[in-house]
């Protein structure tokens, strides 16, 4: 069975902090990590491979430094990694990103494609569903358990607001997973050794047969026109005094604002 996991390298959130005095963004470190939701997707991919046999390939679209995230994924159990990188991809919005990933998945061939529910930098959660549309395959969102893979179909549990649904789809299929699906393992020593020596091929737009104008900033229907740090409009009031006094003042304030 061919399993492909799509990951994204993101800044570790602790490395992007707000300086409260100047209200500007300050990068306090340069640590980059695999998007946390993607680690659950990767773990699920490894478990599926262990259960059903097959190979697990991890892919990402990103600048050259994203290779480190791919190596980390190998130490966590991926068999191979592939970097989709091209200056033409820079500035891609989700439609363009999913276009690139879809091209790679088509070229690789796959039975199951896994991705995390959303990234912690973009927070859109759009790549998974858009990917399935580009590929013309089923999309299973918010998967919290893979029950079975048999007879060319996958059966899953997925979370909805007030419970879970049991869904089935024919392979190949794309799934986005939620954190509840598993507890990701730590790397293994052999995995870490493999990740150091692994060859990570790079595919660019030409390798994928993509027209550069169809991706990157040129191929993204949305465009960022402005980035700003949110003004903390709230002027906080610190309530002082004994616990009783604090509670009294708080209830007064909340009642005044008709919140209680």
């Amino acid at each position: 069975m061919r399993i492909v996991v799509c990951i994204k390298q993101v800044p570790g959130t602790t490395s992007v902090a707000l300086d409260p005095k100047t209200n500007t963004l300050v990068r306090t470190g340069i640590e980059s990590i695999i998007n946390p939701f993607d680690t659950h997707a990767l773990e699920e991919g490894v478990r599926l491979k262990e259960r059903s046999g097959g190979a697990l390939t991890v892919i990402t679209m990103g600048p050259p430094q994203a290779e480190q995230a791919l190596r980390d994924a190998i130490s966590l159990g991926a068999d191979e990694a592939l970097l989709l990188s091209d200056p033409a991809f820079a500035g891609s919005d989700t439609l363009s990103t999913s276009h690139v990933l879809a091209a790679a998945l088509s070229k690789l061939g796959f039975d199951i494609a896994l991705c995390g529910r959303q990234t912690v930098d973009g927070d859109t959660g759009q790549v998974g569903p858009e990917l399935s549309q580009h590929l013309g395959v089923p999309f299973l969102a918010y998967v919290s358990k893979v029950e079975a893979i048999e007879d060319g179909c996958v059966r899953v549990e997925r979370m909805v607001e007030d419970g879970h649904e049991v869904l089935e789809a024919s392979l190949p299929a794309v799934m986005s997973v939620v954190k509840e699906i598993n507890v990701p393992r730590l790397p293994s020593l052999r995995g870490m050794a493999r990740s150091k020596s692994a060859k990570v091929p790079v595919w660019n737009a030409a390798d994928l047969g993509i027209d550069p104008e169809a991706v990157g900033l040129a191929g993204s229907p949305t465009r960022v026109v402005r980035v700003f740090t949110p003004k903390r409009i709230i002027q906080g009031e610190i309530l002082t005094g004994t616990a009783d006094a604090q509670v009294e003042t708080l209830v007064e304030r909340l009642a005044g604002a008709r919140l209680v």
Binding site: P11, V16, L25, R27, Q65, P87, A90, G91, S92, V120, D121, G122, D123, T124, G125, Q126, G128, P129, E130, S132, Q133, F139, A141, Y142, R155, M159, E161, G163, H164, E165, V166, L167, A169, S170, E180, L217, S220, P221, T222, R223, V224, V225, R226, V227, T229, P230, I234, G236, E237, I238, L239, A243, Q246, V247, E248, L250, V251, R253, L254, V260
Partner: protein, 395 residues
Amino acid sequence: MGLEIDREACTGCEACVSACPFAAIQVTDGIARALPGCNLCGACTDACPTDAISVLAKEAAPAPEDYRGVWVFAEQRGGRFKPSAFELLTEGRRLAATLETELCAVCLGDEGEPSELASYGAQRVYVLTADAFADGREDVCAQALADLVRERKPEVLLAAASPFGRACIPQVASMLKTGLTADCTGLDVDAEKRLLLQTRPTFGGNIMATIICPSSRPQMATVRPHVFPRGPIETPSAAEVVRLDFSRRAVTSRTRLLGFVEELSNKVNLEEADIIVSGGRGLGKAENFALIRELADALGAGVGASRPTVDEGWIPYAHQVGQTGKTVSPKLYIACGISGAVQHLAGMQTSKCIVAINEDPNAPIFSSATYGLVGDLFEIVPRLTERLRRRKGEA
């Protein structure tokens, strides 16, 4: 296209390096230089004290002229319209008025009452019917929406960033090859260019981005529930109801629904709660969540939790609020024993009123709190519960 650095103006001060969220700019030999990861977000242009950086963008192709109208996808659940539908229509009214165009609602299935949508300003309601919509299969719904959009050509399509919305609407955008902005917290219109200005949080809310979709139509956005208020019109007019039978046009879903299991523990619908009381590491142990539950009871509130408490196993993940948990926007959020790490703030900072109770006066949460109580939560929370109960009793 790209980032242009004015070599004369650049002083190599590295303000841009600190401001870049993507580590995509560096200073070499005293001059700033963009790296491959740059996506032209413009954070550096704002940060540069000498205005040495500018973003060069190609002029966007003009949008097709024949797309008009602001549409709201009115999501239904359990035979009723979800509150988000009304929030979107309230906001949609404003946008449609600025664009001097009409406001329409679209629903799949005819359980909800279209006049309800009219009372929030919908001038036309499209009701699409087909048996295939009953299961709520996202791809079937997406196909139907896309079909209708191609036919009727709205310039703006809004939907709630609900779990359904976030799985279905991207499929619509992909089919229409148009732009979609997720989880918006602010919308505005450039009336002259007929552009929807979509503002949304990124990096867990540390950075806000304003996004446009200049050339493709419709301009699509999913909107975070509970961020926009809902307000019915005082004297609503009747809406034109257009019923369309989609039975033959509806596609077969690529996924099959085999069953549904209701989970009462999953009935932690924090995203819909008006008031949430959350507990953090300051509680010390699982048993102390009882304090939180009691306060929540007294307020008729939902119970939330910070990630460390979930990781320790004190409370199920369904209650987790934060970047890798739920994003909530209640009227009142009371954080007890929560330090206010960036990752937690990401999940609740759009709450209208935030109350923080923590014994550490330097806890970051106090800079986001409307009311901060520095003290022992074991003293404060029970007193607050008691006070609120008394108040209810007096009422």
